[in-house]
C-alpha cells in the first residue's frame, strides 16, 4: 500500500465528469432555500400571526436535526411508504422510476432553508427603522416596501453570509452519497473499486471540492468588492 499518482489522476478524471451533478444540486438547493428562507425570515420579522410562531418553533427544532439524519430518515420514509402513497393517489409509477434525488433535494432544502432564514432575519434586523417608515410615508404597502426598499438594501450586507451558506451547501451535497446518489465523491471512488486503494479516490474528491470551494470564494469576494463599490456610488446621499 502506498500512494499511486496514476490512480489519483484516474479518479480525478472520473470525478470531474460528475462536477455538473454536484454544482446542479448545490445551485438548486441554494436558490430554492434562499427563496424559502427569505419568506420564513420575513414572516418571522413582521410577526405575522400564527405563521411567525409556527416558523420560530419549527426552525428552532429543525436546526437541531443533522442533515445526514434527515436524509437517511426521509429516504427510509420514501422507500417504505411510497407504495401506499402511490396507491392512495392512484399514481401509476413504480418506485424504481423515481429518482432518489428528490428525497435529497427535500432534505437539503428543508435544512438549509432554516439556516438561510436565520441569515435573512439577522440582516433584516440590521436595517434602519427609518427605511421602513420612509416606505410607509409615501404610501407603499408592507410588501412593496419590502420588495422595493428593504430587500435591495439587504443584499450587499447579506453576501458574506450567503457565501458561507453556499460553501456549506457545497459540502452538504457530499452527504447525498449516503442515500446512494452518485456525485463527485462516489464517482472518484469508482476506479478505486478495481484497485482496492481508496486513499487516492478520496484525495481526488477532496482536491476537486477544494478547487470548487476556492472558485466560489473568489467569485464571492469579487461580488463583495463590486457591490460595495456600487453602494458608495448610489448611496452617498448623507
Amino acid at each position: 500500500m502506498g500512494f499511486n499518482f496514476s490512480y489519483f489522476v484516474t479518479s480525478f478524471k472520473q470525478a470531474l465528469l460528475y462536477v455538473p451533478v454536484t454544482i446542479k444540486i448545490m445551485l438548486v438547493t441554494f436558490v430554492v432555500s434562499f427563496i424559502i428562507g427569505t419568506i420564513i425570515g420575513a414572516v418571522r420579522f413582521y410577526k405575522i400571526p400564527f405563521f411567525s410562531k409556527f416558523f420560530s418553533i419549527f426552525v428552532t427544532i429543525y436546526l437541531g436535526l443533522p442533515v445526514t439524519v434527515a436524509l437517511v430518515l426521509y429516504n427510509l420514509i420514501f422507500l417504505t411508504c411510497y407504495n401506499d402513497f402511490a396507491n392512495f393517489f392512484h399514481i401509476n409509477k413504480q418506485i424504481s422510476d423515481i429518482n432518489p434525488i428528490f428525497v435529497a433535494y427535500i432534505a437539503l432544502i428543508a435544512g438549509y432553508s432554516c439556516n438561510l432564514s436565520e441569515t435573512v432575519r439577522g440582516n433584516l434586523r440590521s436595517i434602519d427603522k427609518t427605511q421602513f417608515e420612509a416606505g410607509y410615508s409615501i404610501g407603499l404597502t408592507k410588501l412593496q416596501t419590502f420588495r422595493n426598499i428593504i430587500f435591495p438594501q439587504m443584499i450587499p450586507n447579506m453576501i458574506p453570509g450567503l457565501l458561507n451558506n453556499l460553501i456549506g451547501i457545497l459540502k452538504g451535497t457530499n452527504l447525498v452519497s449516503t442515500i446512494g446518489i452518485t456525485e463527485v465523491m462516489v464517482a472518484a471512488l469508482y476506479p478505486c473499486q478495481e484497485t482496492y486503494s481508496y486513499l487516492e479516490g478520496y484525495l481526488a474528491a477532496a482536491a476537486l471540492y477544494w478547487i470548487i470551494g476556492i472558485v466560489i470564494e473568489n467569485i464571492g469576494h469579487f461580488v463583495i468588492k463590486f457591490s460595495s463599490k456600487n453602494n458608495k456610488e448610489v448611496w452617498n446621499y448623507d
Binding site: P66, V72, L170
Partner: protein, 233 residues
C-alpha cells in the same frame, strides 16, 4: 402507513439506542478538548505572522474549510495508516490498521476544529480594539497581564456564541461517523433495523435525540453567553 411504524417498537428503540449517545459524546468531547488546544495554537501562530508557518496555516485552513468533513474523515481513515503506519509501528508497536475507526474520526474532527475554532478565536481577539491594549500599556501592565485581564475577557464575549454554534455543529457531524463503521447511534439504529426488519423507528429515535440534545446545548450556551457579558449587563 400500515405496519411501518408502531409506537411499542418506538419505546423499545429508545432504550436500545440512547446508551449509544455516549459514543457521540466521546467523539465531541475529545474533538473539542484537543481541537480547542490546537485552535489556540493556530490562532496565536496566525496572529504572530511568522513567514513560512503563516502560509502553511492559510493552506491548511483553506483545505479544512473547502472540503466536506466526510471526505476529510475518509482521507484520515485511509491516509494516516499509509503515511504514518510504519513510523508508529516501529516507535510504539501500535498497528494503525487494527485501530478502531473512531480514532481516525476523532483525528479528522480535531484537525477540522483546529482550523474552524482557530479562525473564530483569531477573529475574537482581533475584534478587541487596539486602544484597549494601549490603555493597558499606559498604566504599566505587562503584555501577559494585558492578554489575560483585558483582551481575553473581551474576546471570550465575542467567541462564546460562535463556539456554541461550532460545538453543536460538531455534534451534528458525528452523525457522519457511521459511514466509516463507528458504532454510534446511527449505526446502532441501522443494525437494529437490519436484525428486526423495522428500520424507521430507530432513525426517528436518533432524530429526536439529536434535536433534544441540540436544544439543551443551545440553552446552555445562551446562559454562558449571559454570564460572560463583562461590563455590558
Amino acid at each position: 402507513m400500515g405496519d411501518y411504524f408502531s409506537f411499542d417498537r418506538f419505546l423499545v428503540r429508545i432504550g436500545q439506542i440512547t446508551p449509544y449517545v455516549l459514543v457521540n459524546f466521546k467523539m465531541v468531547f475529545w474533538a473539542m478538548l484537543i481541537g480547542t488546544i490546537c485552535a489556540i495554537a493556530v490562532a496565536i501562530l496566525r496572529l504572530k505572522k511568522i513567514p513560512v508557518i503563516e502560509q502553511i496555516l492559510i493552506v491548511f485552513i483553506s483545505y479544512m474549510r473547502g472540503t466536506p468533513l466526510l471526505v476529510q474523515m475518509c482521507v484520515a481513515y485511509y491516509g494516516i495508516p499509509i503515511v504514518f503506519g510504519n513510523l508508529i509501528y516501529n516507535a510504539f508497536g501500535i498497528n494503525l490498521n487494527r485501530l478502531d475507526a473512531i480514532v481516525f474520526v476523532i483525528i479528522a474532527f480535531i484537525l477540522n476544529e483546529a482550523a474552524f475554532l482557530g479562525e473564530i478565536f483569531r477573529g475574537a481577539i482581533l475584534s478587541v480594539p487596539t486602544v484597549q491594549t494601549e490603555a493597558g500599556l499606559s498604566i504599566g501592565m505587562t503584555r501577559l497581564q494585558i492578554l489575560f485581564r483585558i483582551v481575553l475577557p473581551q474576546a471570550i464575549n465575542v467567541a462564546i456564541p460562535q463556539y456554541g454554534v461550532d460545538l453543536i455543529g460538531v455534534f451534528h457531524n458525528t452523525a457522519l461517523a457511521f459511514t466509516l463503521g463507528v458504532l454510534d447511534m446511527m449505526s446502532r439504529a441501522r443494525t437494529l433495523g437490519v436484525s428486526t426488519g423495522h428500520t424507521l423507528e430507530g432513525f426517528v429515535v436518533v432524530a429526536i435525540i439529536y434535536i433534544i440534545i441540540s436544544l439543551i446545548l443551545k440553552a446552555l450556551f445562551y446562559l454562558l453567553e449571559k454570564k460572560f457579558q463583562y461590563g455590558r449587563r
